[in-house]
């Protein structure tokens, strides 16, 4: 399995977008009012900076002993499972609320999981090619929104620009980083399949900066059209924003394009996460065994999603009250576990020097 640089970049891009565009402005505006966009820039820059503490062993030749690899694998698999369940929950709720009102949630979840299985049963190259094909959907959508929104924006809604280093900023940044940018750190694991793994960090930085720009823009548009309070009130603020954007009588109902893009990116993200869970243990599986594992995982996802399902109001309230620091702690665990991949190199060096000493002593004796 090999990915081109471009395919890896697009996989990262889709993972960072996912269904987050549906609700993303809420996370920062809740704490920082109309100045929430600043937290997105700060968080994006922080996410870029973090790449320098991620060991390259994560996506290059792994020299770590088995125990470190297993620990990292378990952490990544658990994290990816959590992200998968959250993604499935958000997308399922969005579709049943906006489009398939009469469809039972469980039926929709099964349909989505089936779709993920069909796409996931192909090789990673296929996934890479698929995201390459769909890459222009979000980009064109966002570009379209930008042009249309510029006609009816009110820049005064962004005033006064105030920045203060306080707990609200920390909460907003923590929540946004945990919910949005950590996905990129998990997807870095797929860097091992990039033809030239030395480019992974550069690709990550470029993608994070691009996604940061999109999210900042989305938040600013939301503030200018809905206002910060209404953005935090609505369940899917960007969807709501798009319902209000129209370009004379030529282009209307662009929220439909947006929904299509969200569904595609979100499903692709779930496929990518499924791959990450499977490859996180570096086990080489036959095609049949892989399918069995995938089916087992997707059944587990079904039960987990049904167990954790809560209405958005409960999820957001949890995120705002406790979620921001719990998720931050979990993210720190992920980053710390990555550091385990550095230790073995030092042990190997040490053991090599010990071996050399023993060999010298042995020679002297002789």
């Amino acid at each position: 399995m090999k990915l081109t640089e471009r395919q890896f970049k697009y996989i990262l891009y889709f993972s960072l977008l996912g269904s987050q565009l549906l609700y993303m402005p809420k996370l920062v505006l809740y704490y920082l009012d109309h100045n929430g966009w600043m937290a997105i820039i700060l968080t994006g820059l922080f996410a870029v900076g973090l790449i320098f503490i991620v060991p390259k062993q994560l996506f290059e030749t792994n020299t770590a002993p088995m125990i470190s690899q297993v620990i990292v694998g378990v952490v990544i698999a658990l994290y990816a499972t959590g992200l998968f369940v959250f993604e499935l929950m958000v997308l399922g709720q969005f579709i049943t609320f906006q489009y398939l009102m009469g469809t039972p949630f469980k039926v929709l979840i099964i349909l989505l999981l089936l779709t993920v299985f069909i796409l996931g049963s192909k090789t990673l190259e296929h996934v890479g090619r698929t995201v390459e094909v769909f890459y222009y959907l979000p980009t064109v959508s966002i570009f379209l929104i930008l042009i249309m929104a510029l006609i009816q924006v009110d820049t005064s809604a962004l005033k006064p620009v105030q920045f203060s280093l306080d707990l609200s900023l920390l909460k907003a940044c923590s929540l946004f980083f945990s919910v949005i940018f950590t996905d990129g750190l998990v997807v870095l694991k797929l860097g091992q399949f990039v033809k030239d793994a030395s480019d992974v960090k550069g690709l990550y930085v470029k993608t994070v900066l691009k996604v940061m720009a999109f999210f900042t823009f989305g938040t600013i548009i939301s503030v200018m059209i809905l206002g910060s309070k209404l953005t935090t009130l609505t369940t899917y603020p960007l969807y709501h924003v798009l319902m209000n954007i129209h370009w004379f009588s030529l282009l209307e109902r662009i929220e439909a394009i947006f929904s299509l893009f969200v569904i595609v990116t979100s499903v692709m993200k779930m496929v990518i996460l499924l791959y990450i869970i499977i490859i996180s243990f570096n086990a080489s599986l036959s095609k049949q065994a892989m399918h069995v594992v995938q089916i087992g995982l997707l059944i587990a996802m079904y039960f987990l999603t049904n167990y954790f399902i809560r209405s958005p109001i409960v999820i957001y309230n949890w995120l705002y009250s406790k979620g921001w620091y719990i998720l931050m702690l979990i993210t720190m665990v992920l980053l710390l576990s990555y550091q385990l991949l550095r230790i073995p190199r030092q042990i190997t060096k040490k053991s090599r020097s010990e071996k050399r000493l023993k060999y010298k002593k042995y020679k002297k004796k002789q």
Binding site: L111, L114, I118, K159, G227
Partner: protein
């Protein structure tokens, strides 16, 4: 083969596109909703289309283009659901053009009612909100209109025309109300609707068979809100003044007197820049006006300076009338507090808690830059009347 079977099975699941479909002939398209206060809750009136009457073709029977259904309930949503007992088909709300409330409900507070409109997934939020002055929203929805077969369209078209050519009203959509409600230093306003003539006979088809309908729907002036509660009304002049303050004037007219002759000026363009002064509670207002002469008793070009001065005085009068009224009610509907918050946040922090009282003492100084760019098709000087 196995893959094809799985693929086909999945297609069967995914291509069940008409799973929860509702055919057009099974639904009833609502064009407007009216909500009135009752002793036990609310009375909801739906104005729905009669498709055979409004569609083109030869199937028309001479019946009105719309029908109305009313039902009471403890809440807005409750009443709407109770309506299904009397409506012949499933109600489809996605195409409503406006929601009107009676004064009594508006005085109690609109937010509990608007919550349903905001929360419901079937409703788009691009409909307007109106307050019916003195009468019930039910009366408004039942009133038939000539020319426009769908009265809801008449209301919307009149509002848009008033907004575009006179400036006393505006299309206030659901989100505009919410935005103003939640924003610091500004209060919402809504356009009012008045019913003139014999309101009881407005619902009969005979009313619109005459050259002058028995009931006329008039787009009225603006309704003032404190948070979500109606507190009063602006007059016509004050409503135009409000339009200037909030930069909503696209086109309007001013009638001024110069040398004892009335001149009607068309305001082609108006831009108001408001700047909080360094003096506390004072605002510098600079108004740039581009006007043309629409009607004049006599066209003495030497008096252009006087004409400009008279126009400035008239607009200043409208703006100050509006400000005085708002100060009297202690409601900052023109958003001076918001302006202060955006430009001088530290000052706003000091005054925001008692802004309503502070607003009472707000003063403004007006500067005008008037250009009279057009004089119509008459240029010859006729001189003063004999």
């Amino acid at each position: 083969m196995k893959k094809k079977v799985i693929g086909l099975l999945c297609m069967l699941l995914l291509l069940s596109g008409c799973y929860s479909q509702t055919e057009l002939n099974e639904m009833m398209v609502a064009t407007a909703i009216g909500v009135d206060k009752t002793e036990t809750g609310v009375n909801v009136t739906l104005q729905v289309l009669n498709p055979s009457e409004v569609a083109g073709g030869t199937t028309k029977t001479g019946r009105p283009g719309v029908s109305c259904y009313s039902e009471t309930g403890e809440t807005f949503f409750h009443a709407l659901r109770r309506l299904t007992r009397i409506t012949p088909r499933k109600i489809f709300l996605s195409h409503i053009r406006f929601v009107a409330f009676d004064e009594a409900l508006a005085r109690e507070g609109l937010l509990p009612l608007l919550d349903f409109l905001m929360r419901d997934h079937e409703l788009r939020s691009d409909f307007s909100l109106f307050i019916v002055k003195e009468y019930k929203a039910n009366d408004l929805l039942k009133t038939l209109t000539p020319i426009e077969q769908i009265p809801a369209n008449k209301v919307l078209n009149s509002t848009m025309a008033t907004e575009e050519f006179y400036g006393t009203a505006g299309e206030n959509e659901l989100e505009d109300f919410y935005k103003a409600f939640y924003s610091e230093g500004v209060e919402p306003v809504l356009t009012g609707i008045e019913l003139l003539g014999q309101v009881d006979s407005g619902s009969s088809i005979e009313s619109i068979e005459q050259t002058e309908p028995e009931t006329i729907i008039k787009i009225n002036d603006l309704a003032l809100f404190r948070e979500d509660q109606l507190v009063g009304w602006l007059t016509e002049q004050q409503s135009i003044g409000y339009g200037y303050w909030t930069n909503h004037i696209q086109n309007t007219v001013s009638v001024v007197s110069v040398n004892d002759a009335l001149v009607t000026l068309e305001i082609m363009k108006a831009k108001v820049a408001i700047k909080p002064s360094e003096k506390r509670r004072h605002f510098d207002v600079t108004t740039t006006i581009q006007a043309s002469i629409g009607q004049s008793a006599w066209g003495d070009v030497d008096d252009l300076a006087k004409l400009k001065q008279a126009l400035s005085d008239d607009i200043k009068n409208q703006m100050s009338q509006c400000l005085d009224r708002l100060r009297e009610e202690q409601i900052d509907s023109i958003g001076l507090g918001q302006l202060l918050y955006q430009n001088q946040p530290s000052v706003w922090e000091e005054v925001k808690d008692d802004w309503d009282e502070t607003f009472q003492n707000v003063t403004a100084s007006y500067t005008f830059d008037v250009t009279i760019s057009q004089n119509g098709q008459i240029t010859a000087e006729r001189g003063a009347p004999k």
